[in-house]
Symmetry: C2
Subunit: 343 residues, 2 copies
């Protein structure tokens, strides 16, 4: 960092000994200038730590390097993790990601999409709220901005969808539970916000029938994103009223299972696979906290890494090809059984 303060690209071009448009080209894509030129610019860059004004940059550019990342609920470590993962990939690809959380509110989700429009993003990675999302608003947005949906599908919307094969999750864990003990019943929220919950229920039923068992679905009251609380309250109620026809409980997701484990503890119900245990409990997602529950939670791990990698890749393919012909593409990743002590 030496003496003179650089105020704009003009001045920076001067000290680096090339013309302003060339500097502009360099910042747009360093490989678009000759190696010798690049070196001169980079040498100057080390002396003067100049950065182009992002507002001026974006003002006149058709396509910015901004990307939006929208998740439904950032206080859920699952989404925090996947957002972090995606964020990093975007940065590595030379984009500027901005992170948003809908906080479970459809109004806020629409609001975010609106302010996102103002950012003229090259593309958006959107994990919609799901059932409660304003379909029209999301659809309109996707028509304007290349958008890859992830985690939660809204049929027929967006350039592509990347997520998990939820029915497969249920098949996998039902098969495991059935093989190692009593077949499970299915514990879920009555009005799940997320469409994946429905797919998991259907997957459960299908898997049970395939194995010749009678499916039993237990739906508990509760709306919103306080899954643990819902799982706990619903669990206590279900245990008290003896609604389980089996000693094995498959929860729709890990957060619900965490709440359910809390209910079990509260009721003095011992969870685990030892002979002195009353219940086996399993979840789905491999939530970051699941390995620390008591007992540690048996679950199906989402392939975070593949989902985020693929979502980003599909988005940039779409953006950079300009074509929207990914339309309707749908990528689903399988889950992996994580055996812990709870089941």
């Amino acid at each position: 960092m030496s003496g003179r303060k650089i105020r704009n690209m003009e001045e920076f071009a001067e000290v680096s000994g090339v013309s302003r448009p060339t500097v502009s080209k360099y910042f747009h894509d360093p490989n678009s200038v000759r190696a010798s030129t690049r070196q001169r610019i980079e040498a100057a860059l080390e002396q003067h730590d100049y950065r182009p004004n992002i507002f001026a940059m974006n003002q006149n550019r058709k396509l910015t390097k901004n990307v939006g990342i929208v998740v439904p609920y950032l206080a859920d470590p699952f989404f925090a993790e996947i957002a972090r993962n995606i964020e990093e990939r975007c940065i590595d690809a030379g984009y500027s990601p901005t992170l948003f959380s809908s906080h479970g509110s459809p109004e806020l989700e629409v609001e975010i999409l609106n302010s996102l429009r103002a950012l003229k993003p090259a593309g958006v990675l959107l994990a919609p709220l799901g059932r409660v999302s304003d379909r029209g608003a999301v659809e309109a947005f996707c028509a304007d901005v290349p958008t890859v949906l992830f985690d939660s599908l809204i049929e027929g919307v967006g350039a592509a969808f990347v997520g998990s094969d939820n029915p497969q999750f249920s098949h996998l864990i039902v098969e495991y539970l059935g093989r190692t003990g009593e077949p499970p019943c299915f514990f879920e929220m009555k009005k799940p916000a997320n469409p994946n919950a429905n797919k998991r229920r259907l997957g459960y039923i299908e898997a049970m029938e395939k194995m010749g068992h009678e499916p039993q679905v237990i739906s508990v009251d509760g709306e919103g994103w306080a899954f643990e609380e819902i799982g706990r309250a619903g669990g206590i109620e279900a245990i008290q009223s003896g609604r389980f026809s089996t000693n094995t409980i498959l929860c729709s997701n890990d957060r619900l299972a965490i709440g359910f484990l809390s209910a079990c503890y509260h009721m003095g119900v011992k969870v685990g696979r030892d002979s002195d245990c009353d219940l086996r409990v399993a979840g789905q997602d491999d939530h970051p906290f699941s390995r620390f529950t008591c007992p540690p939670l048996t679950t199906i791990a989402q392939d975070y890494d593949s989902v985020s990698r693929r979502a980003v890749q599909v988005l940039f393919d779409t953006v950079e090809s300009g074509t929207q012909d990914h339309s309707g593409e749908m990528v689903l990743f399988e889950g992996k059984l994580i055996m812990r002590e709870s089941a």
Copy 2:
């Protein structure tokens, strides 16, 4: 929404029947134009849903309405919650918050501060990484941009600090534990990233001595932000080697306690305050998951709400007064004892 598409402020000024700079003033502050003018603009606004281009807006403005929110680790629901809280308050105050997470990396923290500079923010709310933060970089940033530090203090840096009274936390819980059973030992990481951890340890020691007990601090290996894992591994090791001189364990924070509870379960150690229990365990923070652990975790609740409210308020005071005379101001909020079953 009627016919003509509005492309810029010029065109919007035309349809609303006032000059463009007046429209500009209106968007800067609706009360800065005459009521009659305001009505004409707002009438046009309902017809044409025009929004000023944010890039053009910010390019030439000395002070934007942007604020940055930086937390050390967004995958920690505690920070996710407080970030959400702060975000909302900023929006309500008419600002545009942007959320960043350092993900535990000092390099990324500096990188964020740099890109934040490019956003010309009116102010920044920064929860620094703490011990590992690049003090020089943070200091330099704070000199340029009005910055309120929260959660984690870096001495002498920033326009103000808002956080929790950590020694008081420890006093409160030590007093409670001592009053209801054996006085606690203190369970912590050897190299805590966060300065609050040190204040809690000192608070613990002070409280113990005041009550006439011999403090015992157990520091376990581990660095970074995987607190649960560190608490679990360290807990298993400590239990195996019988390092506790008391049946009551006070953890430096809740996430560590969650890991420790997992260790207890793993080792067959029964936690709680009943007579048949082996250990009592308490945490500090009232982490969102603490009420769902088995047993539910007794802890000290941080006053999230007051911290975020005050941090935002102090920042906007600083920004809007223009003066930096909040310098060194320090606001600490007390914690509240949350009694649950673990202690």
